[in-house]
């Protein structure tokens, strides 16, 4: 029942969780990727927070690069047409701004602080994503 993908998933998840906790200890900040990206791209204000976000995200890209150099390039495939990435991206950018977080910020950091807001946000975006794919699949087969 347990597949290699599941074990790799749990191990990769553990690294992500460790990274989020170390970021809190080091910077006193939330390792929510939508928020870190936003601090670089949405009216960026020079300062300590911007540099923390910048070097953390550069490290993230570097880690993803180094691991792929060692273990082979990850395959990147999309279940849906790539035209959809534009509206999807806009929704992700607007939604994470309005809702103050994404899978990492609410789903990992927030739940780890036992934040009721993050628990509700996570349940909402996971349920909405599942419903969205269900509707797309249903309309597609109609």
């Amino acid at each position: 029942m347990l597949e290699p993908a599941h074990i790799n998933g749990a191990m990769g998840g553990a690294l992500i969780g460790l990274s989020a906790a170390l970021y809190l200890a080091l910077s006193g900040g939330i390792a929510g990727i939508s928020g870190l990206l936003r601090s670089l791209t949405y009216f960026p204000k020079p300062g300590k927070k911007l540099l923390s976000a910048l070097f953390f995200l550069l490290g993230l890209i570097g880690g993803a690069w180094a691991y792929q150099e060692l273990r082979g390039t990850a395959s990147i495939t999309y279940a849906f047409p790539s035209d959809w990435l534009i509206p999807a991206g806009i929704l992700v950018g607007a939604g994470t701004s309005l809702g103050s977080g994404c899978t990492s910020g609410h789903g990992i950091c927030g739940i780890s602080r036992f934040s009721p807001r993050s628990l509700i946000a996570t349940a909402t975006f996971v349920a909405t994503a599942i419903l969205t794919v269900f509707i797309v699949r249903t309309l597609g087969s109609a």
């Binding site: 690294l15 490290g59 807001r117 975006f125």
Partner: protein, 142 residues
């Protein structure tokens, strides 16, 4: 963020996150959509990732938040007491729709920059566009 050591620590901690995203295959949108697609060929990998992350992240977050030595901003400590509001829910719904349509959330999108395809840039630029649209939505959903 004054010293080289601090920059290196941020790069390293970000690196763990990036390795985690590739190892767990969350960098691959089709893998994420596989989790959203509950009535199709459901892929539970994302659950293992969240499980692995929280298993590490919850005890560490609790430990870090209890230690006065770490300067955790009051806003983070107090955020647990904030109540969910309309912006949180609407934001989570919009993010959920975008996540469902693409299979991409901000962390994996940035990790993709290690070996980017044109889709990576299309998505990330759309996310940034969505960030700049968010004040309009924030005005509507006060």
């Amino acid at each position: 963020m004054k010293t080289l050591a601090s920059i290196l620590r941020h790069l390293l901690i970000g690196g763990l996150f990036g390795v985690g995203l590739v190892l767990s295959d969350m960098i691959n949108p089709a893998r994420v959509t596989g989790f959203h697609d509950v009535t199709g060929a459901w892929d539970p990998t994302l659950l293992f990732v969240m499980g692995g992350a929280l298993l590490v992240s919850i005890p560490l977050h609790q430990l870090i938040l209890k230690r006065p030595r770490h300067k955790i901003p009051e806003t983070i400590k107090q955020s647990r007491k904030l109540r969910p509001d309309r912006q949180l829910i609407v934001g989570a719904i919009l993010f959920g729709i975008g996540w469902g349509l693409s299979g991409v959330c901000p962390g994996p999108a940035i990790a993709q920059l290690a070996n980017p395809q044109s889709e990576t840039f299309v998505f990330l630029l759309s996310v940034i566009g969505g960030q700049y649209l968010s004040p309009i939505l924030a005005g509507i959903f006060k």
